[in-house]
Homo-oligomer: 197 residues x 2
């Protein structure tokens, strides 16, 4: 459609997640008109990430070293593993400052429609950690949606055999939310999980 | 938030148009997990565009040469100039195969809120072309929205002094559309511009 280089860029951008043909075109024209130094540093950032960033050999969190800063941190409680779907979930939990254990990043959730079964996730490596390390509790912190719940249920079932304490993050009303706008499932969970005050 | 390189990439991506912090994060993680060769070719496509693509010295369309393939084409009707906002509009008009003249890309539209006045657009260069080239008709093909209409009105006013024929693309019902869903302004324009059959 366009002359060579512009169309190549539109095609490349269009392969990124969440970028349709129209956005790809808009971004390509932005790049075309933007400052050359800025665009070179965007290109360099892509290359640097591919060259420097890998996944932690222990927990599969993103890391610029062989093991991530959390796994390297000796002050972390090594008896706790919090299982999450993605590295971004690690960040979300770290922001709460309410967890001092370590993590295990699955790399996704069980999703038969997308062809992701247990073998595509880092579940085997989690079992190895459970047999090698002194783990007392595994906290299942997958997303509270269909795929995340299925993954948690699957993990709970296979971890039962290991004989470790298994917990799941509480479901309930989000803080700052409005009771009348809560969906029935969430409100139902909030009732089930009610605590005495 | 993340370790160095990942956060740098998220920051760079977040500066692109239409990419918020969440999309930037999702794209960065996609890049992290994607094939290295593919990501190097994305980075290279950005650099190639900055190195090879420039704007046509005559009409400001994107081009890998000093002048674009349309301005170089001797078979084009040199007495017609179609004024558009962006290079992508040139492409849209070319796809219709119903125009054989040349173009002039303004580089945007008059938008006081965004700080874009006539001086930020290639209007002076259009006036130079009108005095240097043998132009018989200028077709104003800016977008049929507020900014595009304002730009067309502005151009029509200053071009009147030049003594050239000035036309504007027809407004009316889109082909394949449904009369009952047309907005009042469009339907009103369709009545104004009705033709005998």
């Amino acid at each position: 459609m366009y002359e060579g280089a512009v169309q190549d860029l539109i095609d490349e951008l269009g392969r990124l997640p969440g970028i349709g043909p129209k956005s790809a075109q808009r971004i390509a024209f932005h790049i075309l008109e933007a400052d050359e130094t800025d665009m070179r540093s965007l290109a360099q950032a892509i290359i640097t990430v591919k060259e420097k960033v890998k996944f932690c050999q222990i927990c599969f969190n993103v890391s610029e070293e062989d093991t991530c800063h959390i796994c390297r941190d000796r002050k972390r409680d090594e008896s706790l593993i919090c299982v999450v779907e993605e590295s971004k979930d690690v960040l979300a939990i770290e922001r709460t400052r309410s967890y001092r254990g370590r993590y295990h990043v699955l790399g996704g959730s069980i999703n038969p429609i997308a062809g992701i079964g247990p073998d595509e996730l880092h579940i085997r490596e989690l079992l190895t950690r459970l047999s090698d390390e002194k783990i007392e509790e595994v906290i299942l912190a997958t997303d509270p949606n269909l795929e995340g719940e299925a993954t948690a249920t699957y993990l709970a079932r296979i971890l039962q055999a290991v004989g470790v304490k298994i917990t799941r993050l509480a479901s309930g009303l989000p803080v700052g939310g409005d009771l009348e706008y809560a969906d029935e499932v969430t409100l139902g969970r909030a009732f089930e999980g009610r605590r005495s005050v």
